[in-house]
């Protein structure tokens, strides 16, 4: 096998750097060349957006560009206020200061949180404006070229038509991208920045100013004191352990169950499958809260075990303060109940898709059923489901429902928020939603991301399905 040596790595790094440099200079050169080559109206478009389009009677398009420029400039200059916090030019200053007005009974305190949020929003607006600005120049330049070739500048109707054809991807992606930017990208960036501030329960937004603290929240992990330093490693350890066991118990159990149901000669396959599918269809808050009640200290299962003399006193399955492993073991067991049907369903589909001629060929070669099973069925399932195994492992690292609804992190560790069964994500939830310690929560979120990203990079990018992602094209 080919192994990358250090020289290769160095070369690869240099060529990546080279590519990056090329890309920037290419964009810059393109900009200059376009400017030199363009007609006077297009040149004016560099300053007054839409001028080139209007000069070519692309009135609607030109007006749109012009309006965007005007409103952008108005926002940047006059910085309109929402909740008495400005967006626009002032927001950029606020982004760096995070507020200066401590406030008294006459003036309210600057809201550092909104200042940060609107600062990021303003940077986003500038980036979007830049994209529109370049589009404006390109659009006017395209009209130049069209006319030079002896044609005409495209009409508004033609532009719309092109959105349904050669630029169909723009029409299809725009709504999705707007949604993603506002409700996923922007909030994620915001929370990443929060990790570098002291925005916590002692600095509630709008009452006390908070400020940038650099890497302090991260270095605090090593300080040996405080929630994050004491509880981080135990929570991380349990998260990984949980993800490992939850993934593999479900995986192996699900495959065994699928083999059992799909066994030759077993009748009423659909009936058996349906019994287990009901578990998938049942909303998790129902099944998990039911399990919690069933297994509670004075619940039916304990009552049955005590009454039938198997145990003397009730077992605290989900909150045994003396031994956290009782709750942990119980959670993983209940998760088997929750998760096996899903793997079973998936494996059933795969089992039915194994090409029959593989078995026929094996039979002709004199293979026994056992051999066929271990040399065809098992490898086939393993091969096909490896990507699933990876996504499932990552899914379990961030599996919120099972832990939160079953134990809520209990048994608790006195003095700390993270309990013995808290995962990184439930800890993050408690830190932000319950405790308002947003900065620590944010650090936990970033660390969770680093773990899931590492797991993904190590496996997913190497997997066939990513590298040959467009093999079908």
């Amino acid at each position: 096998m080919y192994k990358e040596n250090n020289a290769d790595k160095k070369n690869r790094f240099l060529s990546a750097l080279h590519n990056f440099y090329n890309r920037i200079t290419r964009g810059f050169k393109g900009f200059i060349n376009r400017f030199k080559d363009s007609s006077t109206p297009t040149k004016i478009s560099h300053i007054i957006m839409g001028y080139g389009n209007i000069a070519r009677r692309q009135i609607i398009k030109g007006l749109l560009f012009f309006l965007i420029e005007v409103s952008f400039l108005l926002i940047m200059i006059f910085s309109p206020e929402i909740n008495s916090t400005p967006i626009g030019g002032k927001a950029i200053i606020n982004f760096f200061t995070l507020g200066t007005e401590e406030g008294n009974i006459f003036t309210p305190t600057d809201n550092s949180m909104l200042m940060l949020l609107f600062g990021i929003l303003t940077f986003g607006i500038i980036a979007m404006f830049y994209a529109v600005y370049i589009t404006n120049i390109k659009s006017s330049y395209k009209a130049d070229l069209d006319i030079r070739k002896g044609g005409h500048a495209s009409t508004f109707k033609e532009d719309i038509a092109s959105l349904l054809d050669e630029r169909f991807h723009v029409a299809m992606l725009t709504p999705a991208i707007i949604g993603i930017v506002i409700f996923t990208l922007l909030p994620t960036i915001f929370m990443i920045f929060i990790a570098f501030t002291n925005f916590d329960s002692l600095h509630p937004a709008g009452q006390v100013l908070f400020d940038w603290v650099g890497l302090k929240n991260f270095t605090d992990i090593f300080s040996g004191q405080g929630e994050i330093s004491v509880r981080f490693l135990p929570v991380l350890g349990w998260t990984l352990l949980w993800a490992f066991f939850a993934t593999f118990t479900n995986y192996i159990g699900g495959i065994l169950l699928a083999l059992l149901i799909n066994k030759k000669g077993v009748k009423y396959k659909k009936f058996w499958r349906t019994i287990f599918i009901i578990t998938i269809a049942l909303p998790q808050f129902i099944s998990l809260l039911t399990m919690r009640k069933l297994l509670s200290e004075y619940g039916p299962i304990n009552s049955f075990l005590v009454n039938s003399g198997i145990i003397n006193s009730p077992i605290e399955f989900l909150a045994n303060a003396n031994n956290a492993w009782v709750a942990r073991f119980t959670i993983i067991t209940i998760n088997i109940w929750i998760g096996i049907p899903f793997t079973m369903l998936m494996t059933s589909g795969i089992l039915m898709n194994i090409p029959k001629d593989l078995y026929e060929a094996a039979q002709l070669d004199g293979a026994t059923k056992k051999q066929a099973f271990f040399h065809i069925t098992v490898p086939y399932i393993l091969f096909i489901t490896t990507p699933y195994l990876i996504t499932s492992f990552i899914g379990n690292i961030t599996n919120f429902n099972v832990i939160y609804l079953l134990t809520g992190g209990a048994p608790t560790v006195s003095g700390y928020i993270a309990g013995e069964t808290d995962l990184l994500v439930t800890w993050l939830y408690k830190l932000t939603i319950d405790q308002s310690d947003y900065n620590i929560g944010s650090v936990v979120g970033i660390l969770t991301f680093i773990i899931t990203a590492t797991a993904t990079l190590l496996t997913y990018r190497r997997s066939k399905s990513y590298r040959e992602e467009d093999a079908f094209q």
Binding site: N83, L164, M172, I278, P283, L424, F449
Partner: protein, 303 residues
């Protein structure tokens, strides 16, 4: 009598003994399946039985959780009556139905359009978008909830069902992998030949690809519809804990059990609520099973 047949070079197969061992292994299989089925049905049946349990305590209240006997001693519809007249459950149910009916239309459209573009159209920033989508998917989904909450507040939208619809639908563009896997399998030759016939990209998508994509449309729509019935986190944070009239079923029933006042007497009412929620969802799911399995298998194979 033992008959043997000669297979080319293969071991002679002894029919009778195979039959006997088959029967034993079948009996074992049925036993295992029955035990497993009982384990899987036990909690579900327990909830159903409790929903119909109408035992009263000495102060003439519904008795709530009973540990001494699995099967109820008195059966009736009292819990449902209580649920629909004395709690806000009807309101929660309608809230959830409203949110999920709009969400599933919006999400399905967003998911399918992104999936199709990523699968079949070539454009400059395609790989960039794909990578950004993967990276964003790796952050814990609710890490950004605080920011979302304040963005909605700036838009004056917090604590309305409309906000919840926006939050559920807006992320749908990122969940395109399974549908993309499906579109990848549609042969490119089909699309190229339609292009030669003069079809535009939008016509190809709406008139040729979509009619072929019934399974994946149903799969995507099913998951999007069920989502709001299962979600617990976003509904709780965005609509606020105290606005009981805005709860969805998941939040409402959770607080019924683990709210500020833990009242174990409401357990049977909670059970009745679970049954009312579960019946339509499970039925829908079982009816659409075929498409669900197709989607899950496609997703697993493609990764």
């Amino acid at each position: 009598m033992i008959t043997t047949i000669k297979n080319k070079g293969a071991k002679p197969i002894k029919y009778k003994s195979v039959k006997a061992s088959n029967r034993i292994s079948l009996i074992l299989s049925y036993t295992a399946l029955t035990i497993l089925a009982i384990i899987w049905m036990y909690p579900i049946l327990w909830i159903i039985l409790n929903a119909f349990r109408t035992e009263y305590n000495s102060s003439n209240q519904l008795i709530g959780i009973v540990v001494s006997h699995y099967f109820p001693k008195a059966v009736g519809l009292d819990n449902f009556k209580y649920l629909f007249t004395q709690t806000l459950f009807p309101r929660w149910f309608l809230n959830t139905l409203f949110v999920s009916s709009i969400t599933f239309v919006l999400s399905t459209m967003l998911t399918l359009s992104v999936a199709y573009v990523m699968s079949k159209l070539k454009f400059k920033l395609r790989k960039t978008f794909l990578n950004i989508a993967i990276i964003l998917g790796l952050f814990p989904g609710f890490m950004s909830m605080i920011a979302i909450y304040y963005i909605l507040k700036a838009l004056n939208l917090t604590q309305t069902l409309f906000a919840l619809i926006l939050v559920y639908s807006a992320g749908a563009g990122l969940g395109f992998y399974v549908a993309k896997g499906f579109f990848d399998i549609i042969p490119n030759s089909l699309i190229e030949s339609s292009r030669l016939d003069g079809a535009t990209n939008s016509q190809i998508f709406t008139k040729i690809v979509l009619p072929l994509s019934k399974p994946i449309i149903i799969y995507t729509a099913l998951l999007a519809f069920i989502g709001p019935w299962m979600d617990f986190i976003f509904a709780r944070v965005i609509l606020g804990e105290t606005n009981t009239h805005l709860h969805t079923v998941a939040v409402g029933l959770y607080y019924m059990m683990y709210g500020e006042y833990i009242d174990s007497n409401v357990f049977t009412t909670f059970a009745a609520g679970c049954v009312v929620v579960a019946i339509p969802i499970v039925t829908l799911f079982l009816l659409m099973q075929k498409y669900y399995i197709e989607g899950v298998t496609a997703g697993a194979v493609k990764g």
